[in-house]
C-alpha cells in the first residue's frame, strides 16, 4: 500500500490501516528510537507514543507523501520531551548509564573502536545525537533533518560538525582530519 493510500485510510479512521502502518514502519521507528535513547525499552516506549500520536493526529498531515518524515518529526519531539523529563527526574550521573551487558545495543559490535564510537555517540547531547542518528542511520539529508526537527539547515550542519568533532576526539588522533559535513 502506498503512503498516500495509507494516509487516506488512516484519516478516515480505518483501524486496519493503522495496523498496516505499524507493520510498515515498526522497524524504522523502533530502531531510530532505540538509537536516540540508547535503550531498547525506552525506544519501544517512544515508538508506542509515536504511533499513538500518529493515529490521533493523522488528520493534521496535509501532504501524505511526507508520512515518513512526519513520523520522524513526532518521534524526535517525543524523544526530546522524554529527555527533558528524564533530566529533571534523574541524577546526572545516572542519565546515560542505560542498559548494559547483552541487552545493550552495542553488544553486537565486535571491534573495540566501534564500541568506543558507540559510547561516544551515547555521550553526545540529545539533539546532536538525534541529528547524528537521522543523518547516518536514516540516511537523511541536512535539508530533510532541518524539516523534521524544525531547525535551520545551518543549525543542523553546525550540530553535525560539533558532533563529528566530538566523535573524532573520542576516537583519538588518527581520526583528527577534515572539517566539512559530507554529503551522503
Amino acid at each position: 500500500m502506498t503512503d498516500e493510500e495509507l494516509v487516506r485510510r488512516l484519516q478516515a479512521g480505518d483501524p486496519v490501516a493503522f495496523e498496516t502502518l505499524y507493520e510498515q514502519y515498526q522497524n524504522l521507528i523502533v530502531r531510530t528510537a532505540a538509537l536516540i535513547t540508547g535503550s531498547r525499552q525506552e525506544g519501544e516506549d517512544l515508538a508506542q507514543e509515536c504511533f499513538l500520536r500518529c493515529w490521533q493526529q493523522i488528520g493534521t498531515l496535509r501532504d501524505p507523501t511526507r508520512l515518513k518524515s512526519w513520523l520522524l518529526t513526532i518521534l524526535t519531539r517525543s524523544a526530546w520531551r522524554a529527555d527533558q523529563k528524564r533530566k529533571r527526574e534523574m541524577p546526572v550521573e545516572e542519565l546515560w548509564e542505560g542498559e548494559t551487558g547483552e541487552s545493550s545495543l552495542d553488544a553486537v559490535l565486535r571491534r573495540e573502536d566501534e564500541r568506543q564510537l558507540y559510547r561516544a555517540i551515547r555521550a553526545l547531547p540529545d539533539k546532536q545525537r538525534t541529528i547524528i542518528v537521522l543523518y547516518y542511520f536514516n540516511d537523511l539529508s541536512v535539508r530533510e533533518i532541518a524539516r523534521i526537527t524544525g531547525r535551520l539547515e545551518g543549525t543542523v550542519k553546525s550540530r553535525l560538525f560539533s558532533a563529528r568533532r566530538a566523535l573524532r576526539s573520542a576516537l583519538g588522533d588518527e581520526y583528527e582530519t577534515g572539517q566539512e559535513v559530507p554529503d551522503l
Partner: protein, 256 residues
C-alpha cells in the same frame, strides 16, 4: 585515517546496532490495543490581547478576558530576558512554559530573531493579582517584516468569552479550529480619561485598550490563534503584510 572513514564508521556502527533491534511482539499488542477511536476536538474561539504587550515596558490590558474573575493581564518585558539564541530560548520554553510547546526555528520563510519567556500576571478587580503564568514570545524576521509567536499553557481563567465574529474568520487547519482576527488596539497613558464613545466601543468589543504608553497610539494587528494539546498559540502580524491565507498557512506549520 581519512574523515570519510569516520563517516563510514559512524554509519556502519549505527547500522549494526540499529538493525539488531527487533520490535517485541508485546509492543505490537500495546500499540494496537491503545489506538482508541478518535474524537474530533472542537475548540471555542478564544482571545487575549497579548500582542499589545510589546508597545511599552509594562502594560495592563483591560477587557481582554472576561471569565473567572480575571479582568486583565499585566506583562512586564524584561530586556535582560531577551535572547537571540534559539537553543537557549527553546530550553527555557521546555522548562518554564511546557515541553509540549511547538517552537520552530523557522516560521514559513521567516527566521527566528529573538524572544523571551516572561511571567504574565492575571489581574482581578482593583488590579489585584490572581496568579501568574509563563509565556513564550518569539519574534521572526521576514524581509524586515516582523511576525510574533506567543505560546502558553491553556488556562480557563485566561481564555475569555468569544468577542463576537465581526472581522473574524474561523477555519479548520489540520483538524484544529484557527481564528483569524484583525483587531483595533489603542494604547493610552496612565491616567487617561476615556470618553463615553471609547467606553462604548470597548463594551462593543470594537477596540482594545492598553494602559502605559507615552501617548495615545492606534494600531491594527492581524493574528491567528488556536489551542492545541492544551497549548494556546498566537501568531501576530505586526506590520500587516500578510493576507489571512498566509497567516493560516503559518498556523498550519505549527499544527502539522
Amino acid at each position: 585515517m581519512k574523515d570519510n572513514n569516520l563517516d563510514q564508521m559512524i554509519h556502519d556502527t549505527l547500522r549494526t546496532c540499529g538493525d539488531a533491534v527487533e520490535p517485541s511482539p508485546a509492543l505490537r499488542t500495546r500499540v494496537l490495543a491503545n489506538a482508541e477511536p478518535r474524537q474530533k476536538k472542537h475548540v471555542s474561539p478564544f482571545r487575549r490581547a497579548v500582542v499589545v504587550c510589546a508597545v511599552a515596558a509594562a502594560l495592563a490590558i483591560t477587557g481582554a478576558v472576561a471569565t473567572s474573575g480575571v479582568t486583565g493581564l499585566r506583562s512586564a518585558i524584561s530586556l535582560n530576558k531577551m535572547t537571540d539564541d534559539y537553543d537557549t530560548l527553546a530550553a527555557q520554553v521546555e522548562q518554564q512554559v511546557s515541553a509540549d510547546v511547538i517552537f520552530p526555528e523557522t516560521l514559513g520563510d521567516a527566521a527566528f530573531r529573538k524572544g523571551y519567556v516572561d511571567v504574565v500576571e492575571k489581574l482581578g478587580e482593583n488590579q489585584t493579582s490572581l496568579g501568574t503564568f509563563h509565556e513564550l514570545t518569539a519574534t521572526y524576521d521576514l524581509d524586515g517584516s516582523r511576525i510574533e509567536l506567543n505560546a502558553y499553557v491553556f488556562d480557563p481563567e485566561v481564555e475569555g468569552e468569544a468577542w463576537g465574529t465581526d472581522g473574524k474568520e474561523v477555519r479548520e487547519v489540520n483538524g484544529v479550529d484557527v481564528t483569524y482576527a484583525l483587531d483595533h488596539y489603542r494604547s493610552v497613558p496612565v491616567g487617561y480619561e476615556f470618553t463615553e464613545e471609547e467606553l462604548a466601543a470597548e463594551e462593543a468589543h470594537e477596540i482594545i485598550y492598553s494602559v502605559g504608553s507615552d501617548e495615545v497610539e492606534d494600531d491594527w494587528f492581524a493574528f491567528v490563534s488556536w489551542e492545541q494539546n492544551d497549548i494556546c498559540y498566537f501568531i501576530a502580524d505586526y506590520d500587516n503584510v500578510f493576507e489571512p491565507d498566509a497567516l493560516f498557512d503559518l498556523a498550519a506549520e505549527i499544527i502539522q
